[in-house]
Subunit: 150 residues, 4 copies
């Protein structure tokens, strides 16, 4: 159930979102990759490594949460004006199944494209031997702010 009309205010949104992605230190450090971006939607991936796990070799909830949050932000960021950025106000994530596999894929889409607050939802899938399972789902609220915050 996504927004029916999602028109980006900035025609150069692709390069802008890519550039913000490239500058996000923690995202680079953990190893998330931007797979695709379009107006109001974003897909990201992570190749699961030992360092992403908790004590029981499930992927840590924090790895899933960071991915759900940041991908939601990229989906929202595609819709704002050139001199705006988005900052997470809050999110909630439900961990639905243990994340055990080779890769994580996160798909986010904007549910509400507001002027001051954008709401996205994110689904994080774990891929094991080619089979995808929904590992976590999040709803994320983002503030639209001036790019002095960038």
């Amino acid at each position: 159930m996504s927004e029916t009309r999602l028109r980006p205010r900035d025609p150069q949104y692709l390069s802008r979102v890519q550039s913000i992605w490239d500058d996000a230190h923690f995202i680079k450090d953990v190893g998330y990759e931007l797979s695709s971006i379009e107006a109001g939607r974003c897909v990201t991936t992570l190749v699961i490594q030992k360092r992403h796990m908790q004590q029981n070799n499930f992927v840590h909830a924090g790895v899933l949460a960071t991915m759900a949050d940041h991908t939601a932000g990229a989906a929202a960021g595609s819709l704002v004006a050139r001199d705006q950025v988005v900052l997470t106000l809050e999110f909630k994530i439900n961990l639905l199944r243990p994340a055990v596999g080779e890769t994580l894929v996160c798909r986010s889409e904007v549910l509400k494209n507001g002027k001051t607050v954008i709401v996205s939802e994110s689904e994080v899938f774990v891929v094991k031997k080619g089979r995808e399972k929904l590992a976590a789902k999040a709803m994320v609220s983002l503030a639209v702010v001036g790019s002095s915050y960038r």
Copy 2:
């Protein structure tokens, strides 16, 4: 508003929580440290580095969320039996202020010590020049499960 009676079921809870902490790969990788643990409460810290930041040099929401989640889990983990562990079911975090400073401190306490589900809350403070500010607050639900999940 914490639980009035928080009696750990396992008298050896300190060493058990410490040992689970030491085995959590992602927590070690990001650099969180366990400062103190008592029955139903836990405090952790993180020395903020460049790699923890987003594009604007605020600490990334994912770093705050991971800390809120894991510290809540350690507070809850102090209360379960020796053959039990806790797994996060869900959490919600509100990012209240930009996290800019030298150190993060997270304080978690158990609000409800249930047999199958424990609820903790976490406050994450950013410390800048010796002054603490509340950067984020989270409520976390954790399932109590058999230690085969450990």
Copy 3:
């Protein structure tokens, strides 16, 4: 993205869910109606009246939240055993658009059918002159407990 296999443990789930619905005083009092129930899914409706509104004639967030919660519970309740009921552990709701119209329709489905915790999501639509708009979306965690709680 619903659960692929949602098999009710109780073949009499329809009459059981209907009977719990009929006994829920607050639901009767506000005026919600059960439209349809199947394994892991539920649809409910509410004819909007003045008494459901806040000061500005939008439907009150509490009316949307109660509907999202209770419909999620009915979807979950369809899947448990005859001697079990579900109790809400927590939910989070995003209010996406002002709810102004003649009717509310809530559609809930189970995302995770766990033994001790079931997770449902609910979408609440407002219908105005025959056109549906997504007014709110919620994720709900429910504990599966013995029917002594019924």
Copy 4:
């Protein structure tokens, strides 16, 4: 952990919040009462009746959620300018203990007094034979908007 400086922008905030309270139809209908209001804080009560209950004679989660949301809004509303109102963006509530008793008391306070978004937290207590127990806790985000929304 409340905001250290909570200065209302409107010196007439008491009468303004009271007036909005009096105009909220659903709140009147369910029976909530405004007990006290000060800058950034609000307390409300509800005398529990049969019609507030679910099938098992616990107070319905929707009654607790509506109270947590609306009281949080009144706490936030005390801080905005005369020509502004607040609208709930989202909230999350954890139901911690069955609400069985004679009265509900909700205490809300503002955690972050932002220009466009205010965050409050609400604790809902159930009072039984004079003894208070924490039944639910919520975090609520509210948008600050022009009073055309009132």
